[in-house]
Structures are given as structure tokens and as C-alpha cells.
Symmetry: D2
Subunit: 337 residues, 4 copies
């Protein structure tokens, strides 16, 4: 951390800051420039909330140098983490395509979609049993019944299951059925939930929040890792901006950024990222081309009758065609599908 003093900071103010740094067992390196005095903090200052120094008189600002995450950081763990999923490795050479409906609606629906996405090349089935909805009056998912149907679809197709838990008390139920437990964007900083899935040994798919920085995303993973669960996969699903022609703004540059800063794999969800069916295929191709470790795509056999997210769901035929495109793009970046 660098502590930048005000233009006119006094010797006494500087001394007080230095004393506080040293009281934390760190070393303070004072450097007097022509216009500003800087205090460099030497040692591992991660456990310290640096902004506390901004409360000191004479301090202009503090600038963190070390990233606050350790377990999620590539600095500490240079090799890519490969997360096993039903025999394949997410983060490896093969691009992982996960597909399925937004919500599980009925046995017929989930079995039909599961079969279709499997045939097209999906390696896992997504489907919500517990649905976070902004309105209390909207369809909230089938709950445990939905989980049972997902398990039935797994048995029928062999596809592992990705499904969401919305609160700590749902975790043990959901992990009884799921192969991958999803933390939704709205819950990215639901720390009680992060701790609970961290204590489980279920693979976690952690979606980026609508307004989360990359550092916050990695810190949320740190919550899970620090509980001992190292099977974490990130998922970019769009952020909220002023831009209004898509539901969210898909921030694909986070893929190379995460790959540089962390060893954990990252998927892209172009369905939520765009919110519009006709944009799912183009942005899926873009996500593969940018180097994502996989995709998560909403597929529904009858989107007009979907109970949620119909406008962003593609049909099984569109999905099969899209997978063909992705197969052609994969080798360009040294991957396959």
C-alpha cells in the first residue's frame, strides 16, 4: 500500500501515520517528493483495511498495491485450476457448454430439453428449481419437486446438473441433487451463502453481480476457497450500464482479465448477458472467441410458453446450430468442443 499525504501535510501528521503502520508490524518507507510525501508500506498489508489510513489527518488517499485476495490469485497459484465435471475438466482444452431452461417447469419440458441439448453437445444441464424473481408475484420455481425432475433428467441423459441455491438453508437440499451449485448474480455478496457453499464439497458456479468489480468477484470466490472448497467456476453474465438495447452489458473483457489475475475457470452466460434471443448466438460465438472456458445458455423447447426468461431462450434447433459454430471457432484458440 502507498499512503499519499496532502500537499501541506505536517511532519507530525506524517509521523502519526508511520507510527500506526509500524504498530501493525509493517515497515514504513517515507519518500519526500517535490509536491507530495509518499509512505510506502512494506510487508503483507492484505489483512489491513487500507482505507483506515484515509481517516488520518494529512492523508490524501491510500493506494493498494497487493490485491486483497490470495487463494483466488494467480500470483499464489500460477497453474490453471481444472474443475472436474462428470469426467471432463472445466478450464481445460475442451470448451464446456452448459444448457437448459431457465426454470424447470414440468417433467416433459425438462426431459425434452435435456435430451435435445445433450444431443447437440452440451456437457451439463442447467435448470432452476429455486428462482430469484424481482417480483414476489412471479413464478418462484418448483422447489424440491424441480430438483427431483432435474435428477430424473440426469438419470435419463447422463448430464450433470447445475442449479441454484438462494439461501444458506437451501444448500444442503440443493447439493443432494446438484452436481454444481449456482450462486446467482444478486447473491454474489451474500456472504452467509458463500460461507455455506464453501463448507460443502460441491462445485460452485459463482455468477458475477450486476455491479461487481473484478476484485469483488475474486473476493467472493475467496470466501468460498477460504472455507476449503476449491472447486469454483466464475460466470460473467452482463453488468448494468446506461446501455439500453440489451438487458445487460456483457463485459467479455473480463475473461482475459480473470485468466490473468486468477487460476480459476470462467464461463459466459450470453442469455442473461443480452436478454434477447437473437443476440444469444452472436455473443456466444464472441465468448468462445475471447477465450471463455465455457458457456451457459438458456434453451427452451417452446420459448413462447416459458414461465420465465422466454425472450432470451433459444430453441434446441438454434442451440444445435450454435454448437456447430462454436466447434469451428474452438481450434482458433487452441481448444475443442
Amino acid at each position: 500500500m502507498i499512503i499519499v499525504m496532502n500537499h501541506d501535510a505536517t511532519a507530525k501528521e506524517i509521523a502519526e501515520v508511520v507510527a500506526r503502520v509500524e504498530s501493525k508490524g509493517l515497515r514504513a518507507n517515507v519518500s519526500r517528493g517535490e509536491e507530495r510525501t509518499l509512505i510506502g508500506v512494506v510487508g503483507d498489508d492484505r489483512p489491513i483495511d487500507g482505507t483506515q489510513f484515509e481517516a488520518f489527518s494529512g492523508v490524501e488517499k491510500t493506494i493498494p498495491i497487493l490485491k486483497p485476495f490470495k487463494l483466488a490469485s494467480r500470483d499464489m497459484h500460477p497453474k490453471d485450476t481444472l474443475v472436474s465435471l462428470n469426467g471432463m475438466e472445466v478450464g481445460g482444452r475442451k470448451i464446456a457448454v452448459i444448457a437448459g431452461p431457465c426454470s424447470v417447469e414440468s417433467r416433459e419440458q425438462i426431459l425434452e430439453v435435456a435430451q435435445a441439448v445433450k444431443e447437440a453437445g452440451a456437457i451439463a444441464l442447467r435448470g432452476g428449481a429455486f428462482k430469484p424473481r424481482s417480483s414476489p408475484y412471479s413464478f418462484q420455481g418448483l422447489g424440491e419437486k424441480g430438483l427431483e425432475l432435474l435428477a430424473e433428467a440426469r438419470e435419463a441423459t447422463g448430464l450433470p446438473i447445475v442449479t441454484e441455491a438462494m439461501s444458506p438453508e437451501q444448500v444442503s437440499l440443493v447439493t443432494r441433487y446438484a452436481d454444481v451449485i449456482q450462486i446467482g448474480a444478486r447473491n454474489m455478496q451474500n456472504y452467509a451463502l458463500l460461507n455455506t457453499v464453501g463448507e460443502s464439497n460441491c462445485t460452485v458456479l459463482l455468477k458475477r453481480g450486476l455491479m461487481s468489480t473484478i476484485e469483488e468477484l475474486l473476493m467472493s470466490a475467496e470466501y468460498i476457497l477460504s472455507e476449503g472448497n476449491y472447486s469454483v467456476i466464475f460466470c460473467e453474465r452482463g453488468v448494468r450500464t446506461f446501455s439500453d438495447f440489451s438487458r445487460n452489458t456483457l463485459d467479455l473483457a473480463i475473461v482475459p482479465a480473470v485468466k490473468k489475475m486468477s487460476h480459476l475457470p470462467i464461463l459466459v452466460d450470453p442469455s442473461h448477458g443480452t436478454g434477447r434471443r437473437e443476440k444469444v448466438a452472436p455473443l456466444s460465438r464472441a465468448a468462445a472467441a475471447v477465450g471463455a472456458d465455457g458457456l451457459m445458455i438458456e434453451v427452451h423447447h417452446d420459448p413462447n410458453r416459458a414461465l420465465s426468461d422466454g425472450p432470451q431462450s433459444i430453441t434446441p434447433d438454434m442451440f444445435a446450430e450454435l454448437v456447430q459454430d462454436l466447434r469451428q471457432i474452438a481450434p482458433v484458440i487452441g481448444r475443442r468442443l
Copy 2:
């Protein structure tokens, strides 16, 4: 809801949309313009997720007309809701000033601050016992011990207590001690938590999320109200934007906007809204002048040693001076303090 058809939508596409509208028990009013056909949906379409029509072929977009919230809406409840708090009414003529430290740190700290803010004119004491922190390595609050200290401070000063619960399972514990239970910004769409506090009969302070629209804020209140708890107070605490000279961008225009759309009271938290001590007083004055029903302000007797949020905490002296300013502003908008 208005359903806007594409430029070249066919009669068959229009008919299919109309049929679906009518299948929901609503009426469809087709209006053929020169360049676009519009389908007006007549009746209460709130329980319907309008975007489902965007999945239909030939549909350009849907435009909601009715707001999706009912219980939180001023349309349905034109009179201001007054929320009782220890004898005063939040939302009434008196501006409610809530103050206290970010976190409860020790008996001495909380008692000293509580006494000071009471003397200066605060009507309630804030203080965190469970703290949401972006890093798992940061101080997470004293937990139940913190709640006990808050209760002790209430006994000593008579000030009611505002404190946060971060997960459904904390609610019963927190409401045993708190007069007002706070839902933090990161949890504004933690629906399990909203449902749980909705089932309690404790007053809820619902903070706006960093990325939440006004409609989402009101929908989150709707979750609480629809469980039978009508004692809800909103709190604006800044949104995240590109703007980088303050921690968040305090969006004061939400105060008149909420007053117009809802009957529930709204406070402003200039401490989180700005993140910098020297901006707390100016933005507090602005919040009072814009018509907020109250303020929530972080006060610490020794901000340099605060375990969290030191840079945005003001001292008891600064707080006392600020309350004097607010007292002068209140009458301008027909209020007092």
C-alpha cells in the same frame, strides 16, 4: 402493457399475440398505426411477466404501463405511511436522525458514541454487530456480543437500536435485540432474507442496492409488505457509477421520486453515499433540503482507530454541529428536527 409489433409483423403473428393475451383473461386492444401495430393489454396485467411476449415472433418489444408493485405503491395507498420508532413517527414532520458507529467495537466505544449522538439530537442508534465485508479476512463484527452491547447502550440512553441481519437465520436473533432491522445494500434482493423479515413484526430499514432501479427497490419492499409487515423504511446510500471522487454516487433525486411513487418513508445515508468524512456534512444538508424523512450517519469518537469505515465516520463534535445546520434547514421544507 403495450405490445409493439415489428414493422412487418404479419396478421398471423398479431393474432397469436392477441390469443395469448386473451388466454390470460385480459383484453387486447389492437391499434394499427401507419408504421407499427400496437396491442394494448386491458386489465390488471401485473401478475404476468410481460417480457414473455417478447419471445413471440413478430414482437418488437413490450412496454409496461402499470408498475409491478401494489402494496408499496402510492396509487393504492395515497396517504403517507408513518413508521413508529420509539414514540416518534418516521415519515412525519420531524426529520429522523439516526447515528452511530459503523461497527460495535467495545462497550466503551458504543456507550460513548451513543451518549454523544443522543445529546446532539439523534433519535436512534445505529451500529453493526454482523458486518458484510468484501474480504473474508476483514473484521466481521462482534456478532451476538455486539447485539448485547447495543442493548446496553439502549438502556443507558433510551435510543432505539438499528442493526443489520445478513441472513434469514440471523433474523430471530437480531430482532430479539433490535428495534429496527437493517437489510444492507448487498442484500436488497436476498429474497429469502426479505421474506423472513416480512414475517417478523420488526421495522425494516431497506437499503437500496448499488445497482438497483427504483422499481427494484419498491419490489423488494413489496416482498416484505406481502408477508404482512408494513413497517418499511427505505434508505438511499449511493449507487455505483463511473464517478470516482466519492465511494458511491449519492442519488438524491430518488427522494422525491420515491415520495411520488410510494407512501413509505425514505432516509439518506451520506456516510456510505460519499465514503469521505469531509463530504458527509454537505451531503447531509443536501439530503435534508431535498426532503428526506431522515438521515443515517456514521459517527465514531476516534475515527482513526475505527475497525471499519473510519474514513467516512465523523466525530461527535462534527455531528453536533451538523445537527445544528439541519435544524435550520428543516423549516424551509416544513419540517423540524
Copy 3:
């Protein structure tokens, strides 16, 4: 346009709005719903600033239905516009790759880079002679000398030249040298400049502003088109958001959105869009995969010594490799390069 009246709008208020609509030569279609009265405006209301009705008592809001642009709209001009550039057609099957340094710095530099990007497959040379810089103390470009060097590079390589004009009075000078005149992001709504390039017959590359909606982008094109210049190419170069790991947030979903709403071609500039060399290749691949009509990429033979934008410039070798990748992606979307 739909005019939504307040919940409690009176008959008199409604009548006044209707009278004003009719005074504009349009028809008003009043539809009384259960909770809201809507007034549909029938006819071409584009020339009318709809928000003026929001100034009327009893009006809740107005909702535009028709897009305000005509000449730039695909509704009015369903076929793709192909913009000729030195024998090729931008917007056609071939992906147009434009490359070159941020600024023209010297004869050696521009000739070396021009030769290199030509060999790698670029179809035009970019290079700034007039540079918009946020600081008055930064290098502002070589001015006319830079234009002369660009012309020399064109002669040497046969590549047409893309370069920026920053003010109306520069237009005649710049168009004497340039094949394509660039309007920078900061000038997207510099209407005097738009009018001036609209009066020229030079092809215009119109970069999206940092904060511009798609509608504003198309309206800025409308300024140019309405002066009689139909050779307009859009360029997405990232928008400003809270996201801080790249210089801007590249909003690739605008590519299919523009293709749907307009007939004009659109390029992507991943150099400004990311601001970091190591992200240029991944985002370039993504831009091709999403369906962009071309790319504009900053290439410098010695980025460490570039006078501007060094950190986002790639070397000729990196560029040549990238073009190879793009060649493989192009057929996936039915294109070539």
C-alpha cells in the same frame, strides 16, 4: 407515441392533451384502462419532441414508439448499405481490417507500420494527425505534416487513409488527404462537425461516444445523412462504466443491435475498447465472431516509444498473427478476410 396519464388525471387534462396532439395534425386515440388512461398518437410524430407532453398537467410520461431516425433506419432502408473503400465494400462479405498507429509520429514510423499492416492483410491505414487529448500538455499530433506523411504512406502501400478531424474548420484540410474521415468518440455529438462532414462527400467513420445510447449514435449518423452524405460507417470503441479492469467496456452486443436497427456497417475498435495490449487479440476475435463488419486496430512497431496509446498498441507481429486467427473465424459467420 403513447402518452400515459396519471392515475387521477381529469377529463379536462385529457382533453387538453388531445387538443394539443390534434393541433399538430396528428390523431389521438384515447384508451381508458382500469388504472390508467392512455393516449395513442397516430401518424408520423417523429418531428415532434414527445417530452413536451410531459410538461402537461396530468401526464405521467410519454413513450416513443417510432424511432426518431429515418435515413439511418433499416425500416426505411431494409437493404445493407455497402460503403466503398478502395475497391472493397465495407459491410459486405469481407471483414474490413483497418490498422495503424494511434498517432503519426515520423516518416519512418508511418511507412514501417503501413508496410507491415498491409503485408499482414489490413485494407486501410489509420493514423492520427490531429489528436484529441484530455490534457493540453500532451502531444497533440503533427497536424498537416502528419497528413502529408499519411499520403506518402498511401502512395507507398496503396492503402487508403483513415484519419480524424476534430473541428469543422479542419474538415476541408483533412478530406484533401483522407479517404475516410474519422469523428472521434468525444465529438459524436459535435453537431457543427457532423454537419460539415455531412456536406463533404468523404466517407465518415463515426465512433460511438463514451456515454452514447444506440439511438443517439444513429441520430448522429442522421445528421450526416440528412446533409446528403450516405457513406457512414459506425465504430464501437467501448463505453464508460464502473468496470475498472479495462480502459472502457467494449459493448459488443451493439453489433447485432445496429445491424437490426440500421443498414449502415459497423466496425469495432478493440484497442480503445480495452486499452491494454494483451486484451486486443481476444476482443478482436470476439468482435469478428459477433459479426462486426470490420475492425480498427492500433499497431505500432515500437509501442514502448509510442507518443500516445502505447499500452494498447500491438506490434506488427502480433497483428499478423491476429489476422490469421480472424481468417479462421470469418467463415463461421459466412464471411472472409
Copy 4:
């Protein structure tokens, strides 16, 4: 500037950066931490574009310490600049209220509004003769005729005139009539225009761009100051965010931030900042309470018939009442009106 090297930067990489720093006549202070090597640049590095070092191999990032502006900075000019306007001093004790219609529409209109705002307490008259409009089909202002009418209104009322120029060639015309020349938000980084008004000796009202950081705003002032014109007044008028209940998000925290970083005065424009008549008064009060040096407010005698910005214009009666409120708030912050 601090240059942060990568975790695994080599000695050679460090030496190359140091050599480049020294080649610029600056000193490099290398500090080897446990996890990162930092290179502090000692001396005035403002003229150097720091990001150029990010193009070097082994560099993680650069962190500027000195602000890039000098003339606009309070560091260099600790005393408040007072800008004279018709006998009063903007930036002094008196809050400067500027009011008038969005556009000059007719002699009757401008004279009537001018008279009304003068009586209510305005110290200057605003009114647009050249109007930047996002649509080429919207009313673009009366041009020189509008300037003549403004001059007539000045003669009739004694109020100085604030009006906009949109391009460098308009500046000499506009300054013939105007007392204060306005640079609109869309032109905040129109450098040719900034240079031209910098060369004039007319007071400049510089509006913050929709997506501009505080540093960019101060740098735009630096363009004007560096041409020798020191009469610059800032104006906050809202930024663009995801927040959708007001036209823009008024970012009032910029007022204390500008006061801290610069010596120049700053006004607030709550009309554009909110876009809705009913929010103008509350946000005006907030702007005064936050410490703005003045306000700029759109007033129209018949907003329903305004040719532009009707929905955000208040009537003369509303304005007069608002000024009364502001008079009561002023003393709270040691000012008057």
C-alpha cells in the same frame, strides 16, 4: 507516479523502466517489496503520459500521484477564484442564481421571462440561441436573432446574459452578445472550442460532460486557462447512469470535491440534472445546501408550449417560491442570496 512491476518482473525489465524514467530527466526510486517492486518517479512528471510505461514488458500498472492539471488546481492556487459578473462575484458569499428559458423563442417570451426571473432574484439570464439537439429535425434555436433578443432583454432588465456556443466559429459572434459563454455538456471535450473560448476574454461556463470524471472536467478547464482566460465557472448538470427515474443523475458530491481540488467556482443545473419539473425545486435546495456557488435553472412562462425542455422548466411563480427557500438555506452555509 508509481510504476508497479509484475510479481515476476526481471532485473532487466526493471532496469529498462528506470533508464526510460531517467531519460526524461526524472529520478527513479526503486523499492523492492516482498511481492512487488515499485518504481517511484521523483520530479514533476505531469508532462509525461504515464501510461506509456504500461507498454513496457514487466510493468503491471502505473499510478499517477500528481494531478495532471496545474492552473486549475488548488495546490497551485490555494485562494478561491472569484469570477466577476455584472458587479457580483461568483464564488463569493452570494449564491448566484441564473435563470431563464432553455431556448429563446420570441421577443415576448424572453422579455417576459427575463423580467420575472429578475424580480424573483436571478442575477443573470440564461437562454439558448444555438441549441445542440440530438435530432437534426428538432428546433435548433433562433441563431443570431436569438442573440439579439437576449441583448434586448439585457437592456430591459440589466441582467447579464449566459448563452451557448457550439463551435469555434460561433464564438466571436456569441461573445459579441454574451456576458458568459456556455460550453455545453456534449462539448466539454471539444478541444477546438475550448481553445477558442480560452483565447477570448469572455467568462466561460463549462458544463460537465455526461460521463466525465472530475479530472477530465478540470483538464478541460486547464485548456481554457492555459490560453490565458482565467474566468471559468464549472457547472454540474447530471451524469448518465443506469438510474432511470430522472433524466440524469445529479452528482452533488462533485461540489465539495471541486472545491477541494480547484479554486474555480461551481454551479449546479438541477433542470438538466433531473429533467422533471417537480424535482427541480428539491434538487435546487439540495444544491444550495451542499455548498454550490450558484444555480442555473430553466424557467418558462408557459412550459406546455416551450419549444424545448418544457418538462423540466418551472414557471416564474415556482421560481419565485424556490428563491425564497434558497434565501433561507443560504445562511446555514454562511452565504446569502
